[in-house]
Structures are given as structure tokens and as C-alpha cells.
């Protein structure tokens, strides 16, 4: 038996229901008094700056913003923001944030996690948060290494990676976080880069506006244990050939002159890179982030190198509207209260089968 659920509230902004303010806010308002203690040169600084600079743009009351993190270098993030925050335990932030977001519609809930936290010890919570589509934004800092435990390979490290725990090379096939999220029914999946502040900010803006779970993978350099992991997509000499920028509604091309493009094999559905010329210009793939079917987004995600990163698509792979778990859970409470009236405790305790001793 299944029940027809109340009509889903779609086309609702991710920030709907959260108190806003007209007060002018600046990044300083969101900066706590705690000293930031990441290693010099860590990509986390850039992301922190970008987030502190971006949060005022949301126009939300600061007291209605909560950052929840797990364990790892990036998970120290909440301490540095003057919002509410919880630095929880390894891998569990999406679960904790699910309870918080479901019970509090008036909060903007953010999860800060890393590749080890989200994809290894907390993999289960991540995929279930994505399929439930709880209204929150997950920032997945992917540096492809374990930093806080001093340099073991992570679930996104390339095969053969030599680390302290893999002196003869890692034997693990890595996760592609975008492919994983798409497979977990995520309604918003994006990727950006720590050093590209403009792109990072634009992706965060769209993620915050999305109602449902938004997963944002942020490529983030660890200068101590995995330095240079993203050089190919950051180096001015190579990045134009390495970064595939996705923009909804536009043909996907890249390269200094837009000389590379993506085409899709109609038989297999796979997407590949071609050199653009007059014979294939019309066949170039036009990015459709809003397609209900995630196949295309998945095919594009597969262009990410699994080994050393020489090429990666960035931008919003997928953004579709789907009912959120928390909105629906609250709607069920409201529907029950409306149908039965507010709970009458005496009536509940008494039940229907009673007897009286006079």
C-alpha cells in the first residue's frame, strides 16, 4: 500500500522560510574570533574567504545559518565562521544536518566535509542524504589525500598512489564524487575549484538557492601531502585545455579558442572530446543541467580523470526540482494535526479499550 503524498512544493527557493535581514553585512560579520589554523598555502583558506565573502550576499539573518562538519582538516571550518556551528564526528555530519534541517525549516544548513569524511567513513550518510534530498548544501573539499592523519591515500586518490600507507602504490579504484552523487539520485551536483573565487562563488550561490541537497565538490590543494594534484587545471599554460566549463543551455566547448568540444555517441550514450570543426559543430553537446534524466550528466562526469588530473569538467552538472524530505516530513505533521486536531494526550493515553474500577 502506498499513499498519495501532499502535492510537492516545487519551484521554492532553497532559502525560503529562512528569516532575512536588510542590515548591511560584510565578510567580517561572519568571521569568528578564532585563529585559523590550517597549514600555510592550504586551499581551505581560499574557500573560507570565499564563503565569508559570499554569505552576506544571501541576506539571511546570521543567527539562522548553521555549519555542520565532520572530521578532517576542512571540518574545522565552522570554528572560523561567526554563525551557529557543530564540529561533529567523522563522517556523520550529513546525518546530524538531516535531523537539524528536518526539525528547523527556518535554518540555512551547510555541511562541510572532505573526501575521506564524506566518501570513506561517511559514505553511507552522504548517499542517503542525497537520495532523501534534505534541504542543505554540502561542500565536499576534495584534496585527494588524508591530510589530518598525515598523508594516507583517500578514496579519491589515483590508483598506484604512493603514500605512507601504500609504499608500493594504492590498489584502490577511486570514487568520482560527481558520478557517485548522480547515482545516489542527487538533485544538485556541481564541481568547482578553490582558487577560482568567481566560479566558486557563483556555484555556491546556485547551490544555496537550490531547494534540496546540493552537493558541491571543491577541488582543493593540500600543499603538504598532495601538492600539485590540481596543477594541470590551475596552471595558466594548461588549464584552458584541462578545464571543461559547463554552462546550462550552451554548447560545451573548451580550449583557448574553444577548439575542443563534447559530442555524444548516440549508441552508447558516452560523451567524448572532439576537435571542433565545421563537420561537427552542429553535433556539439549542449549542456542541459535541468534534464530529468541524469544519464547525460553522468556521461559528462566520466570525463574526469581517475588518475592524475589532466582534465575535469566543472560547473553545475545537474539541478532538478524534486520534493525534499524535510518539506514533506513537516507537511505530514501539519496534515496529521489538521486531520486529527492537535494531539490530545489524555485521549491518547486512554485509548479505546478501558475498564473502570469504581
Amino acid at each position: 500500500m502506498s499513499i498519495d503524498l501532499p502535492a510537492p512544493t516545487l519551484a521554492r527557493d532553497g532559502l525560503a522560510g529562512i528569516p532575512s535581514t536588510d542590515l548591511k553585512q560584510t565578510g567580517k560579520d561572519f568571521t569568528s574570533d578564532q585563529e585559523v589554523r590550517w597549514c600555510p598555502g592550504c586551499g581551505d583558506y581560499a574557500v573560507l574567504k570565499a564563503v565569508q565573502g559570499f554569505l552576506p550576499d544571501l541576506g539571511l539573518k546570521r543567527e539562522n545559518i548553521v555549519f555542520v562538519s565532520g572530521i578532517g582538516c576542512s571540518s574545522r571550518f565552522p570554528y572560523y565562521l561567526d554563525t551557529y556551528g557543530m564540529h561533529s564526528i567523522h563522517g556523520r555530519a550529513p546525518a546530524i544536518a538531516t535531523g537539524l534541517a528536518t526539525s528547523r525549516e527556518d535554518l540555512s544548513v551547510w555541511v562541510v566535509t572532505g573526501d575521506g569524511d564524506a566518501l570513506s567513513i561517511g559514505g553511507n550518510h552522504l548517499i542517503h542524504a542525497l537520495r532523501r534530498n534534505v534541504n542543505m548544501t554540502i561542500l565536499l573539499f576534495n584534496n585527494r589525500i588524508y591530510g589530518l592523519t598525515k598523508g594516507q591515500y583517500s578514496p579519491t586518490s589515483e590508483p598506484g598512489k604512493v603514500t605512507k600507507s601504500t609504499p608500493m602504490g594504492s590498489l584502490d579504484t577511486p570514487f568520482n564524487p560527481i558520478s557517485l552523487a548522480l547515482g545516489a539520485e542527487a538533485s544538485f551536483v556541481a564541481r568547482t575549484i578553490d582558487t577560482d573565487r568567481k566560479h566558486l562563488t557563483e556555484v555556491l550561490r546556485q547551490a544555496a538557492a537550490h531547494r534540496g541537497t546540493a552537493l558541491v565538490e571543491i577541488y582543493q590543494n593540500c600543499p603538504i601531502f598532495n601538492d600539485g594534484a590540481f596543477d594541470a587545471i590551475k596552471d595558466p599554460a594548461t588549464k584552458d585545455h584541462a578545464v571543461i566549463r559547463l554552462e546550462h543551455g550552451k554548447p560545451i566547448t573548451f580550449g583557448p579558442q574553444g577548439e575542443h568540444g563534447l559530442v555524444r555517441d548516440p549508441a552508447s550514450g558516452a560523451v567524448s572530446v572532439v576537435e571542433v570543426d565545421d563537420t561537427n559543430r552542429d553535433a556539439l553537446l549542449v549542456h542541459d543541467a535541468h534534464a530529468q534524466d541524469p544519464s547525460l550528466a553522468f556521461a559528462i562526469s566520466r570525463l574526469t580523470d581517475g588518475g592524475y588530473l589532466d582534465r575535469a569538467p566543472i560547473g553545475i552538472f545537474r539541478q532538478v526540482e524534486r520534493p525534499t524530505y524535510d518539506d514533506q516530513a513537516r507537511a505530514q505533521l501539519a496534515a496529521a494535526a489538521e486531520a486529527q486536531g492537535p494531539g490530545d494526550l489524555q485521549k491518547l493515553l486512554t485509548g479505546s479499550d478501558t475498564w473502570t474500577i469504581a
Binding site: H87, G343, L349, D353
Partner: protein
């Protein structure tokens, strides 16, 4: 009162056990008999007992499911040690339960099922109905299946569906034998099968046919009367532990004004709490079936951070998985009610059987110094009050609280005098308020009386703060690795839990003569068997005192004094002496453990004998304690 000239015998109490295949509907049969018995006004206590397998192979010993009900014209405490009446729906049910029956007891068997094939499945080489192996009992072979099929012939059901109503035939027969009212069961069947008229009519017809068979057959010459029990004035209902516990959680939400958020993963024998609470959305109760045990408690803790009453329910294996998050809750000092409906362990253990072996896990099963309050209900109905008390402590002291129920309490039932909600205690969340101009909010500043820290859910300007699992600086709650601060914070957390003792009543000892030298002390679900055992011992003229702990951490303030007032303290537990270990460690008192882990509650006669032995050997310098030596 005689029915159709048949003899009616008066009894003061009866224990009936219904036993059959897992698919025979024995739990339903027992439950209906219980409801009618409750409506009749007897005091009662029940013990369902079923296998972990949903449908073990039909007709086999592992597939036997049973339901025991004890009812009386006086106040009783347990479902009874040994049945007086056994209803066995097949040879396996007979084989699995006959040993428990009292000599001279009544056996009613469905003779239809006593085929050579079924007898062999149950391990019989010859039919016990034909040899003299049941000579000690009053045996009534009745073709329950055959008569049921005949009684429902007019409704056009297939033979299999028709035969399935045999449990209602048995219920009808037993209802006649013990003069139970029938209106409730009739109404129940009409409602349950409203959409399946043929099944409804067949069950009703089988139920009536069973009653009529009792009334007319010469095989049953006697029926019995057990008068209603005198109970204090008020309105009553029958209730199981899991239902009472669920209602306690709903009530805690109402009495505190907090929305309830349950995060849970299905697990036997706790799942019924999730099922029950999911029905009460109109009370603002959110139930979240999580992807795993860890997410269940994580979501509950997240909701607590947001200002809800976070609750998670599980059994022992689930507590193992939740341990790290419980430690986080200890560190961030937020209210959280953790319900452990204990079952046989370790590992998967005995999922459907009862045990009290998670006490030390509740006390110590976390890394670091991570104390938390632990409380336990003592009877099915008491689960209501215990849940309210757990929530009171959690909210008042900003701490996770462990509530230790068990499988016996969860599924067992008893009459409950329905409380007047106006008399229930209020629970004050006492949230932090915005600091005055120029003042800074200190999330780890403590209330001088309770030592509880401020609870400041998001949404209030000026209270923005960060909490987490890294050691907190006293007052500010910022990260601190300072050695002296860590030492101080560890002690603060312990002192806060100890402080709970100031809000709990002194332990009261039941010592009618005031001269007893032996004290029996229990905790949790052993209350009934210990109470009944003590009564039985006193009936033999033995002077013994009895007391029972609800609060396991911290203990009531007068516990040490109570223990030292007796020459001998016996602690019966369904584990290998976990409370005894705590008592010895804390009070340096030579308490003596009496323990057993069979997955079944203690018998009251067994405990009466333990008491008798303890009293008899009081002046023997060296006490014989073979049980201890055997398993240590």
C-alpha cells in the same frame, strides 16, 4: 453459577500458555484473551515468546511461538513460572512446552495435526496422545482444525484459509472455560477483517463454534471462575512496555513543549516504538527511519541542537554502533534520550529474548571519561514513567540519558491505571536568552545548581556559538588543548551527572517487619519476579526485605546506607552480575549475585528458594557460591 448444568470451579489464579507454529496466530490469540481478561477485571501479566525467524519451517521445534498469560483475583507481579493450561496447536508446540507445565495441568491439543509426519518433525517416535507419556496431565485431544473447517464451510473459503481460523476456535473454547467476555473480540474481528467479509465471518464463526463446543461437549465437564481483582479506583487499560514507553516520549514532548524527533533504525525488540511514535505526528512527533543506527542517533542529536527533544531507540547491537555519537552528545552537552531495549547478547545474540546485559555498556561503553545518567523501568506500564523521567533528566541536565528497557518489558503487558495528564510533571527546557548589551554569551557557563550548561538552539541573535567533539574551553566552549582545562572539564562533566542524584528520591525498602537481615535488590524488569519471589518467601515465614533501583547512574543518595543496613544483600540479574560489580566497586559491600542468562525472566519460586537459602545460611561464615565459580 452453572452453565447448562456444568460444574463451575472457583480459582484464584490461572496461567495459560497458547503455543503453536509461528504462522498459527498464537500472539494474536494470546493478545485477545488478554484484552478480554483485562476487560473482565482480573489482574494480569503476559509473556509473549517467539522465534527470531519470521516463519521457521512449519511444524518444527524452532518454529514454535507461544504466549503466556497469568490472571488472578488478586494483585500479581509476573506472567507465572509454570502454566496450568497448555494449548498446543501441533506436536512441536506440545514437545517444546510440555516440560514447563505443572504436574496435573490441563493440555488441549489439536489432534488433527498429530500425523506421523508432524510427530516426526517434532522428534516424537510415537504419538504422545497414544502412549502414556502424558499420564501426569489432563489431556484433551480436540480436532480443532477439523471442527473449524466444518464450522466455516458455508463461507466458501479454501481449505487452507478455513483452517487458519483454528486459533479463533481455540480462543472461543478457552473463553468459555474461563468465562471471558466475548464482545471485545467480536468487535475486533469485525474491524480487522472489515474489507474481507468471508475471512471475517469465518473467524467469527470459528470463535463462536469454539465457545459452543466447550459448552456442549462432554469432554469438558468443568468451567472456571476467577473473580475480578480488587484494584484501586480509576480507569485502566492493558499496555505493553513498548507502547507505554512510546507514550512516555509523546508525553515528554507535551510536558516540555518541545517537538519530539525520533531517529531510529529498525531492530528487534525496539522497532515497535518507532512504529508507535510514527502514528503520533499530530503531537509534533517526527520519526526518521535512518539509513543506519549511527544516522538515527546523529539526526536525533542534530534535532536536539536545533531545540527538539532528540530520541533514538535501539537494542544492544545498535548501542554499539551509536557509541561514538553518544560520546559526542556527552561532550557537547545536549539533551538526548537513548532507549536500549535489551536483548540476549553478545553480537546478534538472542534477538527475541530478554536479558539485562547492557548495563555496563550503558555505563562505560564509550572512549574517554564519558559518564551519562542511566535509568530503567521495572514493569511494562512503568515504561511510561521511566521515559518521562529520562526526558526530564536529559533536558534539565543537558545530557544524553540511557533508558534500559528489555525484551520482557517491551512485549509483556499488564493493566495500567491511566494517569491524569494534569498530574504529570512539567519539564522546563529553559533555553538561553540573548545576552545583555555588551555581554558575551558563554555556551559552557554552568547553572550553579544543576551544573548544566546553556542550551542555545540556532535562531537567536547574539548566541551564535560553535560546539564540537574537541575538548571545550571552560566557559567559552572554544577548542582547548590546555591540560588543566581538560582535567577540569572531565571533572565538570562527571560532577554534572553526579548532581542528578539530588533530584531523585531516596530508595525505599520494603521491609515489613523491620527486622529482616537479608535484602534482595534488583533493577529493571526483574521487579515482578523478585517481588513475587519475596512474597512467596514471606508466605513461608521467611523475613526478607526488598528494594528496586530505577536510577542506575547516579544511584540514589541513600543506597550505601541501605546496603550496609543488611547482613546479606542478594542481587538477582539476567546477566553475569553487572549491577553487583558496580555496587561492590562503589560501596565496598559484599553483595551476592544471583544471575542467569537463559533469555527468559526469573521464576518467582526459584527466587523464593534463593531467599530461603540466603536466610538459612546467614550465620555460616563461608557462603557456598558455586554459580559464581562456574562462570568466572
Amino acid at each position: 453459577m452453572a452453565i447448562d448444568g456444568k460444574k463451575v470451579e472457583q480459582l484464584d489464579r490461572v496461567v495459560i500458555r497458547f503455543a503453536g507454529d509461528s504462522g498459527d496466530g498464537m500472539q494474536l490469540t494470546g493478545d485477545r484473551f488478554t484484552q478480554e481478561t483485562a476487560a473482565f477485571g482480573n489482574d494480569l501479566s503476559t509473556l509473549p515468546n517467539f522465534p527470531a525467524e519470521i516463519r521457521a519451517p512449519q511444524g518444527t521445534l524452532p518454529g514454535v511461538s507461544s504466549f503466556q498469560v497469568h490472571f488472578a483475583d488478586h494483585d500479581i507481579l509476573t506472567p507465572g513460572d509454570r502454566p496450568d493450561v497448555l494449548v498446543a496447536m501441533n506436536p512441536a508446540a506440545l514437545a517444546a512446552n510440555i516440560e514447563a507445565l505443572r504436574p496435573g495441568g490441563i493440555v488441549i491439543v489439536d489432534s488433527y495435526d498429530f500425523t506421523s509426519r508432524n510427530l516426526a518433525k517434532a522428534g516424537y517416535t510415537s504419538s504422545p496422545l497414544e502412549d502414556d507419556s502424558l499420564a501426569d496431565y489432563q489431556v484433551h485431544p480436540v480436532d480443532l482444525t477439523g471442527m473449524t473447517v466444518e464450522a466455516v464451510a458455508e463461507f466458501g473459503l479454501g481449505r487452507k484459509d478455513a483452517a487458519r481460523a483454528k486459533n479463533m476456535f481455540a480462543l472461543g473454547l478457552l473463553s468459555w472455560m474461563y468465562g471471558r467476555p466475548t464482545e471485545g473480540t467480536t468487535a475486533y474481528l469485525e474491524k480487522k477483517f472489515a474489507s474481507k467479509p468471508a475471512i471475517r465471518d469465518a473467524n467469527l464463526a470459528a470463535f463462536k463454534a469454539g465457545w459452543n463446543f466447550g459448552e456442549t461437549t462432554e469432554a469438558f465437564a468443568v468451567s472456571y471462575e476467577i473473580k475480578p481483582a480488587p484494584m484501586s479506583q480509576g480507569q485502566y487499560r492493558n499496555i505493553t512496555g513498548n507502547t507505554a514507553l512510546s507514550y512516555g516520549i509523546v508525553a515528554a514532548g507535551q510536558q516540555s513543549g518541545l517537538p519530539v524527533f525520533l531517529g531510529a533504525y529498525p531492530i528487534t525488540p525496539a522497532s515497535d516504538i518507532l512504529h508507535e511514535l510514527s502514528k503520533h505526528k499530530a503531537f509534533g512527533v517526527t520519526t526518521f527511519q535512518a539509513e543506519d543506527e549511527i544516522a538515527g542517533i546523529g539526526a536525533a542529536l542534530g534535532a536536539s541542537f536545533g531545540g527538539a527533544l532528540g530520541v533514538t531507540t535501539t537494542s544492544g547491537p545498535g548501542i554499539s554502533l551509536k557509541s561514538e555519537t553518544i560520546g559526542l552528545a556527552v561532550m557537547i552537552e545536549l539533551p538526548l534520550v537513548i532507549v536500549d531495549v535489551q536483548r540476549g547478547g553478545p553480537s546478534t545474540g538472542l534477538p527475541t529474548k530478554t536479558e539485562q546485559s547492557d548495563l555496563l555498556q550503558a555505563m562505560f561503553g564509550r572512549n574517554g571519561e564519558a559518564p551519562l545518567p542511566v535509568i530503567a523501568p521495572q514493569s511494562p506500564a512503568d515504561c511510561f514513567d521511566a521515559a518521562l523521567e529520562a526526558a526530564r533528566i536529559a533536558v534539565t541536565y543537558r545530557t544524553p540519558v540511557m533508558l534500559l528497557s528489555d525484551g520482557y518489558l517491551a512485549n509483556g503487558s499488564e493493566p495500567w491505571q491511566i494517569p491524569d495528564v494534569a498530574t504529570l510533571p512539567r519539564i522546563e527546557p529553559d533555553f538561553a536568552t540573548a545576552p545583555a548589551e555588551g555581554e558575551t554569551f558563554l555556551p559552557y557557563a554552568r547553572d550553579p545548581e544543576t551544573l548544566a550548561r546553556a542550551w542555545a538552539p540556532p535562531g537567536v541573535a547574539g548566541l551564535e556559538h560553535r560546539i564540537g567533539g574537541i575538548e571545550k574551553a571552560d566557559g567559552t566552549g572554544n577548542i582547548s588543548y590546555d591540560p588543566a582545562n581538560h582535567d577540569r572539564m572531565v571533572r565538570h562533566r562527571a560532577a554534572k551527572v553526579d548532581r542528578v542524584a539530588e533530584s531523585i528520591p531516596d530508595l525505599v525498602v520494603d521491609d515489613p517487619s523491620g527486622d529482616a537481615r537479608v535484602l534482595v535488590l534488583g533493577w529493571g524488569s526483574t521487579y515482578g519476579p523478585i517481588g513475587a519471589g519475596v512474597r512467596a518467601a514471606r508466605a513461608q515465614g521467611i523475613d526478607v526485605a526488598h528494594t528496586h533501583l530505577r536510577h542506575l547512574n547516579p544511584f540514589p543518595r541513600n543506597l550505601g546506607e541501605v546496603l550496609r543496613a543488611y547482613d546479606r544483600v542478594i542481587v538477582p540479574e539476567m546477566n553475569l552480575g553487572q549491577l553487583a560489580l558496580l555496587l561492590r566497586a562503589q560501596y565496598l559491600v559484599d553483595v551476592q549475585s544471583y544471575d542467569k542468562v537463559t533469555g527468559m525472566p526469573f521464576g518467582s519460586e526459584e527466587l523464593a528458594e534463593v531467599v530461603a537459602q540466603a536466610v538459612k545460611t546467614l550465620d555460616t561464615p563461608s557462603l557456598d557460591r558455586p554459580r559464581q565459580e562456574n562462570h568466572r
